[in-house]
Each structure stands twice: as structure tokens, then as C-alpha cells.
């Protein structure tokens, strides 16, 4: 399938960043038909920080402003909810409070310095951002990256998926007042962060990936430790998951909350678990060659429950993937001291990575080995728009289940 990941407009020239069969490529815009092919074209072109502006009027209708300082949503962001007291009539999200101007700051930086900025967009997606950015630069400079590096990137992308999915499901359980489930999931979340540190030295997998290579690899002892750790996480999570889906109170809160159809999800440019929960198979797992193919998990309902179920099954698959690959990883020999040398210093390129919440895409232009332009397209940007859309016509009690089930973050959307 063809997904529009981003619209790039530099010096009056427009290009589309398309993902087709798992491969990212740039298409110059030559006709209106190209724009009309994608429902999310305007959204991705405007890149607004005030998502779903608009208002509703009527008897007793008022604007309820939720944020940017509220304990309910920890990140600095703001919801504009139009309501007459119970039902949400229109929801808009303002992510501008978290805007840090990262794209602009990347200009005139060396590729390695800009990589650290890519990791700072949203630290819990740091590795996905780092991989998508590195792939874009490698693509622009025509660098061939060692297969061992690619395999390690895939392993750590799955490690990132596990702790993020655990975090999302913990929040959903907490919102449904499932105290026992929340505590157990929260302990698994902390365990997953500790395994990240064992594998890479960073709880958020930062500072290990580089353009064309990898800074260092874990010792065999640490790899064994990680294998045991992920086996335990998979086993404990499966028990909890089976137990939780038999709990009617919990299921009732998630079922039929924030339902979107497959057509709506595609039109809004969703990818990742939010799209797969509508029964659509995306090609993000085929972004690069895997030694053992990851199954694509889908559900059909398109509600908060389906999104949770997709994430839950992905946790168990990702644990299995990491264990299988770590067992054979000592055969991947490459020099971690030297990144692959690029064969040129000028060029443009794009890269994507399969982040826990969908496709992260980067577009870079390099001149004389320095970043001239960078554009970042995040899953949280389209995800925030979809979350706001899904909140319409639901009641305030559904709010945390709908918003949290999309796994989106203000820092990721605001850049």
C-alpha cells in the first residue's frame, strides 16, 4: 500500500515522501491528482501546531481548555474541548507549547550533531528517530551500511516498541482503575527500561546509533542477561494480558471507545498500531530485511480495545524477536569504531523507521557534508489529529482511554 508520510516544500518546490511496500521514496509533485490521492495531504503540508482548529456554538456550549498545566496530561500541551457539560462536541489539540524548533536547529549542523537533535525530538522514540534520520543521511550520501548494523537497529527498534507499548497499556489500566494490573505492568515497564540500559548503556537507547554505524555493542554476558530478561517479560506479560482480557470492567472501558474506520484511518495518514487496529496491514515491518520476519498484527474494530490488543500482541512478538536475534548476534562481525564512509558530501535523501506508534520519516539535504535542510514527520502529529477526531461525540469519561490508546506524545508532534 502507498502511505503519504510527509509533504516537503523547499524553495517553492514540492515533494511527497511516500512509503510504498515498506520503501521510502521522494516523488516530485507534478499534478493536482498526486495531491488528491492522499486524504492527509493538506494536514501534512500545513504542519500546524494547532490541530483541528474550529469551534461549536449552541445553547450552553462552552470551550473547556485542558492544559498546558494539568496533572491529567503530564506533557505541556493543551486540549480545546467544546462541550455543554458531558459530551465532547469538538476536540482540538494545541501542541505549540512544546515546540522547540528542532528542524530549524538541525540546519548548519554536522550529520552527527544533528543526530543527537533527532534523538531529542521525543526521547521515548529516540531510537526510531535516530534510525530514520541516519537512514535519510545514508540515503543522501549513498552509504552502504553493514548488515550487522541493520540487524542491531532492528533489535533495538523492537526493544523501544516493548517499553513504549508497556507504558501505553499501563496508562490504560490505570485509567480504568485496575490497580493490580497497573502495578504489575508498571514493574515490567521499569524492567524493560533496565534491559535497554544493559544492552546500550542508556535507558532510552540514546547515543548508540550513528550515521553509517554503531558506537558499541553489548558484551556477551549482557546479551545473555537481556535474553533472560525479555523471556521473563514475555512470560509475565502474557499471564497479565490473558487475565486482563477476562475482566469485564476493564474491557467495557476500552470497547467501542474512540472508534475509527479503516477508511478514516487511511485518510488521516495513520500508520502503526492505530492503523493496524482498523484491520489494515501496513508495510512498516518490511522497511528493511529481517532475518526472521515479524508478523503484522491486526484487529478489526478500530477502537481503543483493538489498539490495546495490537500493542499487547506486539509486545510478545517483539520479545521473541529480540531473543531469537540476540542468540545469533555474535555472528554479525563489524567494526564499531568506524562508521561506513560516505562516497559523497552533497545530496538529498529520506528515511523511515517503524516506531512504536507508526512511521517516523526524515528528509535531509546535505551540502558540503553539512545539513542544509531537515524535515521531520512524526507518528504523533497525525496521531494527535486522529485522537482529536476520535474524541468527538464521546463523553469525558472516555477521554483518557481514547487519547492514551493512540500512544502519541506532544514532544513528538511539536518537534
Amino acid at each position: 500500500m502507498r502511505l503519504l508520510a510527509g509533504v516537503i516544500e523547499i524553495d517553492g518546490k514540492e515533494k511527497l515522501l511516500i512509503i510504498e511496500d515498506g520503501v521510502a521514496r521522494l516523488e516530485p509533485v507534478e499534478s493536482q491528482a498526486q495531491r488528491e490521492e492522499f486524504g492527509c495531504y493538506q494536514l501534512l503540508k500545513k504542519r500546524e501546531l494547532h490541530l483541528r482548529r474550529g469551534s461549536v456554538s449552541g445553547p450552553g456550549v462552552f470551550r473547556f481548555r485542558y492544559g498546558p498545566v494539568t496533572a491529567g496530561v503530564r506533557e505541556a500541551g493543551c486540549f480545546n474541548l467544546y462541550t455543554f457539560g458531558e459530551k465532547i462536541l469538538h476536540a482540538g489539540i494545541d501542541v505549540s507549547w512544546k515546540h522547540r524548533g528542532i528542524e530549524e536547529t538541525m540546519s548548519n549542523k554536522t550529520p552527527q550533531r544533528a543526530l543527537a537533535l533527532a534523538e531529542a525530538v521525543c526521547s521515548n522514540f529516540a531510537f526510531s528517530h535516530s534510525v530514520a534520520y541516519a537512514r535519510a543521511v545514508e540515503n543522501a550520501l549513498h552509504s552502504n551500511v553493514d548488515m550487522g548494523v541493520q540487524n542491531w537497529r532492528n533489535i533495538l527498534l523492537e526493544a523501544e516498541r516493548i517499553y513504549n507499548h508497556l507504558h501505553v497499556i499501563t496508562k490504560l489500566a490505570s485509567a480504568a482503575a485496575q490497580k493490580v494490573l497497573t502495578s504489575h505492568l508498571s514493574s515490567l515497564f521499569e524492567e524493560a527500561l533496565r534491559l535497554n540500559e544493559i544492552l546500550t548503556g542508556s535507558r532510552y537507547l540514546m547515543g548508540i546509533n550513528q550515521v553509517g554505524g554503531f558506537h558499541h555493542l553489548p558484551s556477551l554476558e549482557n546479551m545473555q542477561h537481556a535474553i533472560n530478561g525479555y523471556s521473563l517479560i514475555a512470560k509475565r506479560f502474557e499471564q497479565l494480558y490473558v487475565h486482563s482480557v477476562n475482566n469485564a470492567n476493564y474491557m467495557d472501558r476500552l470497547h467501542a471507545a474512540g472508534t475509527i474506520t479503516a477508511d478514516q484511518a487511511i485518510a488521516m495518514g495513520l500508520s502503526g498500531p492505530s492503523l493496524r487496529a482498523c484491520g489494515v496491514k501496513d508495510d512498516l515491518n518490511t522497511t528493511i530485511s529481517h532475518l526472521i520476519q515479524l508478523p503484522v498484527i491486526t484487529q478489526n474494530e478500530g477502537d481503543a480495545l483493538a489498539r490495546m490488543e495490537v500493542r499487547a500482541e506486539e509486545i510478545m512478538n517483539s520479545c521473541e524477536y529480540i531473543i531469537d536475534h540476540l542468540k545469533i548476534s555474535d555472528a554479525w562481525n563489524f567494526n564499531t569504531d568506524e562508521a561506513t564512509k560516505s562516497i559523497r558530501e552533497n545530496g538529498e535523501g529520506c528515511g523511515i523507521a517503524n516506531s512504536p506508534s507508526g512511521a517516523v520519516a526524515y528528509y535531509v539535504v546535505l551540502q558540503d557534508g553539512i545539513i542544509a535542510h531537515a524535515r521531520i514527520f512524526t507518528p504523533s502529529y497525525v496521531g494527535m489529529h486522529a485522537a482529536a477526531f476520535s474524541l468527538d461525540e464521546y463523553i469525558f469519561t472516555d477521554f483518557p482511554f481514547i487519547f492514551d490508546s493512540f500512544g502519541v506524545h506532544f514532544s513528538d508532534a511539536a518537534r
Partner: protein, 158 residues
Amino acid sequence: MLKWWPLFGIRRHLTEKKAYTSPIRLQSLYGKLFQRSLFIYILDVGSSNALNFEISALESPQYNIHRFGIYFTDSPRHADVLLILGRPTELMLAPMNETLNQMPEPYYVITIDDSMDDLPMSPYPEMRHHVAQLKGIPSPSELLGLLLELIKNKRIAS
């Protein structure tokens, strides 16, 4: 037959018995005032989200912060400590100052700056009782060590 939820995993001991320490030594302004409990209000003003995740990790059963009398509160008016995450974006300066105005005396302010120096973030304004300025992403155990140092909690060693 599934177990009743309250019995699920009841024999699993998740809380760790460790001495949590912080390299930062604090001079407690209020002596023993917050020794029995500490209520913290979290305010994100521009962090890259790792700090929010570390706060979530700090709430995990491994750390079990409630045994030390440490709680997160939903309003700055109920808080003893304002924990500011990240360096402020320009837009967040005003909400941050307003939150500071809502803090009841006596209180502490702790800031954690995880922003890269390249980014155009605002510097922290002058704040009263600003007892600690951390840089980078502290782990939950370091953060817990800092909070325990602040309240000089005598139950740490036991």
C-alpha cells in the same frame, strides 16, 4: 479458573530494598518540616519526554515511593515540591510562573534540564527556594535519592 485480581501475583515481592543515594547534597531549608511526607507536583515545561517516562518509572512497585511518604499530587496548591521537567519553551514561561505563584509556602523547587544546548529554550527565571538544578536525565533511583536527601528521611536505612 482465573484468580481473583487482588490475589494475582500477591506472593511476588517487587519492592526493592536498596539505599537510594544522590550525588547532589542539599541543604534542607526547612529542617525536619517535610520529614514525614513530601507531596510533589510535576510540571513539564519543554522536556523531551524522557523525564516524564522516568517519573512513570519512579511510580513502579520496584521503588514503592509511598513507603517513604512521597506522593505525586494533582495540584500545585497541595504540593511541597515543584519538580520542573525540561528547560522552558517561550510559551511555557508564563504558565510556569503562574504555577510557582500557586505554590503554598513553604516549598522547594527542583529543575531538571534535559535540553540540548543548541535548542532555543529560555533560561530558568529567578525562583525562590530553587534547591536543586539537575542536568541530563537522572535515573529513578537517583531522583529518589535526591528526594530522600531533601526530606532527610530516617526510614531509608531501615
